[in-house]
Amino acid sequence: MHTYTDNPRFPAGSPTTSSPPLGLGLVETSSGPFDILTHYTTTLDSDPDLTMPIAAIESLVALLSSTSTTASTIAEFLSIIETGISVLKSSVPNAISLSAGCDLFLRYIVRSLEDPRDFDACRAHLLQHGKLFVDRAKSSRWAIAQYGAELIRDGSTVLLHSHSRVVTALLSFAAERNIRFRCIVLETAPSLSGLITARILRSKSIPVSVIPDNAVGYVMAKCDMVLVGAEGVVENGGIINAMGTYTIAVQAKANKKPFYVLAESHKFVRLFPLNQFELPVQPQYQNLLDFTTEERNANDQVGKEGEVGCVEGTDGKTGGKKVAMGGRGKGSAPLVDFTRPEYITALISESGVMTPSAVSEELIKIYS
């Protein structure tokens, strides 16, 4: 029987205690400890449009700038970054999306340093342009919206799940172009993040119907397509996204509805999960299978905290303000599942519409 603790990524024992000796979120640098986790969470909180990979890159740049005078050798430079990355990865509940940004950043630096003469230039470039990366990431969302808006036709009905910034950006863009369409939004229990989507879309005068998650099979025949975002896009073109995405994808396939994924290419991540239980999610946050013969206490009632106000900002990025999953998980990491590529009609990234099989090539280009 496969259990979470079998997962080699997370050896038994709480990761929070096994990670850095300094304490959660701190990286020791020669100019004193730098709290990269705090920087990361404040960065995320300060800008609701920011995604986890970008906040991670931003935090790593900040880490570098705090040590700018001291890292004089490439080895030291890299080791600071690597420490920062491992601290970040181990201290958030769900590091899938974050690690995509971290790995991309590290890879970029390694590539840039192939010629050691560029060391100073590379460091200067990174320090100067931290803000630029953030802007570019945001603009790639805009580019996806433009590519993807073609998908939305007059009179169509779109099924949505959870809350994804890029999906709402795309739909807002389509609405601004006076395309008339309707949305069915799954409420996405237990976090109820679907309600955020509904509220945003309604504020753009898009007719929205919110339905419970278990009605997805019932309504599938009434929709023309499914649009979802992704926490991470893995090597085989599958996606890791909010729990329930897989169910929807299977339903869409059964009803022969197109299933589109919108994801910036910085969310492409070097993972190759073969089943649902191989995702790099820290076990204590997603331990759904908890067999017991005892009655559950009231605290276990799923979705109890499900008001819009309380799920705001608990997008899994902060490590949690609210307990969303009753007694089953600690913290509010949104639950995630894995959707295999054969269920995905196409992925839309800022470089255009691609088939799932094209993802591995994008990754090979960077990491080979």
Binding site: L104, S112, D118, A121, S140, A143, A346, S351, E362
Partner: protein, 488 residues
């Protein structure tokens, strides 16, 4: 409109006019002529359109004078957009325009190669194939790629071609473009990807090309202000000639793979009058004996199909065979039966009934789309679906020039509705119309079918065999990312 010629309006007359070369500096007249031919469907059939487009662009480029890359590209884009607007469903126009744009960019970048690509691409390979694309590469690599795609052979190709095309930007960089340097090309020696990558990043969209172009002039070219113009034109024209050569030889290249796919005593089902399919079958017939079942393709294609199968006089106006002039006559006047194939002609309605006996379906196509779907003569989807029902493999033969980088967001819009008179005679239609006040029957004649990627097992192009899911790679090899959206 340009000068009139004696041939009926079509590809032949258009090429005659181009070749006469009267008022050759007035390319606008040629463009207008082509637009009118396109919009009246006097040039149809993707190869004719592709040839006409390439010939026209050849004339346009050869008389056009430009100062820098942007100007030339803007001009070609402008011409291309006019042509595409004339007949939006004719994908071949856009394909050729994009390839020419890619050719131009490559020609410019080839000049600035100096430090830019050394890190990312294998310079040895690059020098072999660097200047030639499309056909020349295909010849080179097709040898490496045996029968079926998808196995190791399929994997081999992208790796090899990737080094060839790596420096073209846009491809290499989409993920790194997030982190790359904002402006200065002098920095990009090794630390940042090629500057064209910026085009995927909206905030700094224009500087990339301009700065590259200017640094080329300052770095490389000797005195004389508009440095590149002088050097580039012969290279671009040479590349265009290669595209034209490819268009003329593409069917033979595809046919050269036929022995890999057609085996003795097989029963092959095909559809319509595609010349590509005809040549493919004839080539196989030179070594093997097999049976071909031909679905006639009523109502748009059946006359041509009958002619192909039974060897009627091909001078009657079947579909568009202007191409007759270009291709050695005897080879395709030979009918399948004359080549020793047993041929069975069936009506389209009998496809399902006969499918259980068929070993393989071979389809021609009008256009292939980046997601692996295709547009073909109406009836193709029925056949593909029937084949799927019987788990019969479906092989699509298509030149790479038919492969469009467009994604079929709305495939219903791609299907052209043709002449209803072919379904019901105009006389009968007239009678229908007379019943005023009564319910009138509408007659629809869609010309194409959209066949989704999942119904196709294999594409055979002039580059070899590809799985439908692999076509994105072929698209990446032939079109530049920045040219895919021509409209903007």
């Amino acid at each position: 409109m340009g000068p009139k010629s004696t041939a009926p309006p079509g590809l032949t007359s258009f090429l005659n006019i181009l070749n006469k070369n009267e008022n050759k500096h007035d390319t606008n007249a040629y463009i207008e002529l082509f637009i009118s031919l396109l919009s009246r469907r006097q040039i149809r059939n993707s190869r004719s359109v592709a040839i006409a487009t390439a010939e026209l662009l050849l004339r346009v480029i050869s008389v056009y004078k430009w100062q820098d890359l942007n100007q030339l590209i803007a001009h070609i884009k402008e011409v291309g957009n006019r042509l595409m607007a004339a007949q939006p469903r004719e994908m071949a126009v856009g394909n050729i325009v994009r390839r020419v744009l890619g050719l131009i960019r490559e020609e410019y970048e080839g000049d600035s190669k100096a430090g830019n690509i050394s890190v990312y691409s294998d310079s040895g390979l690059d020098s072999i194939t660097g200047r030639k694309r499309g056909e020349s590469t295909s010849v080179l690599f097709s040898n490496l790629q045996p029968v079926l795609d998808g196995g190791e052979a399929g994997l081999l190709k992208p790796q090899v071609t990737r080094t060839t095309f790596a420096h073209q930007g846009g491809q290499f960089t989409s993920m790194f473009s997030l982190l790359s340097h904002p402006g200065s090309p002098e920095q990009n020696g090794t630390s940042t990807p090629p500057p064209t990558s910026h085009s995927s990043v909206p905030p700094t969209p224009t500087q990339s090309i301009t700065t590259t172009a200017t640094t080329i002039t300052t770095e490389k070219s000797p005195p004389g202000p508009p440095g590149p113009t002088r050097d580039m034109k012969p290279g671009i024209i040479e590349g265009l000639q290669e595209i034209l050569d490819e268009l003329l030889t593409v069917d033979d290249q595809i046919a050269s793979y036929s022995l890999d796919h057609i085996h003795s005593n097989e029963i092959i089902l095909t559809h319509g009058s595609s010349l590509t399919v005809q040549k493919f079958l004839l080539k196989a017939a030179s070594k093997r004996t097999f049976t071909v079942i031909v679905a006639e393709g009523f109502p748009n294609d059946h006359e041509a199909t009958h002619a192909r199968v039974m060897g009627f006089d091909p001078t009657n106006p079947i579909d568009d065979d202007d191409i007759l002039d270009e291709v050695p006559q005897e080879q395709f006047q030979k009918t399948l039966a004359q080549a020793g194939i047993s041929v069975i002609l069936i009506p389209d309605a009998a496809v399902y009934a006969i499918m259980s006996r068929v070993n393989k379906v071979i389809l021609g196509t009008h256009a292939v789309l980046a997601n692996g779907g295709l547009l073909a003569v109406a009836g193709a989807r029925t056949i593909a679906k029937a084949a799927r029902d019987h788990s019969t493999p479906v092989v699509v033969v298509s030149g790479v020039y038919k492969l469009s980088p467009m994604y079929p967001y709305d495939w219903e819009a791609l299907v052209e509705i043709g002449d209803p008179g072919k379904v019901v005679s105009w006389e009968a239609l007239g009678e229908i119309g007379e019943g005023v006040g009564e319910k009138v029957v509408s007659v629809l004649n869609p010309i194409f079918d959209y066949v989704p990627a999942e119904l196709v097992d294999l594409y055979v192009t002039n580059l070899g065999g590809h799985a439908p899911s692999f076509l994105y790679r072929v698209v990446g090899d032939h079109y530049r990312h920045e040219d895919i959206n021509l409209g903007v």
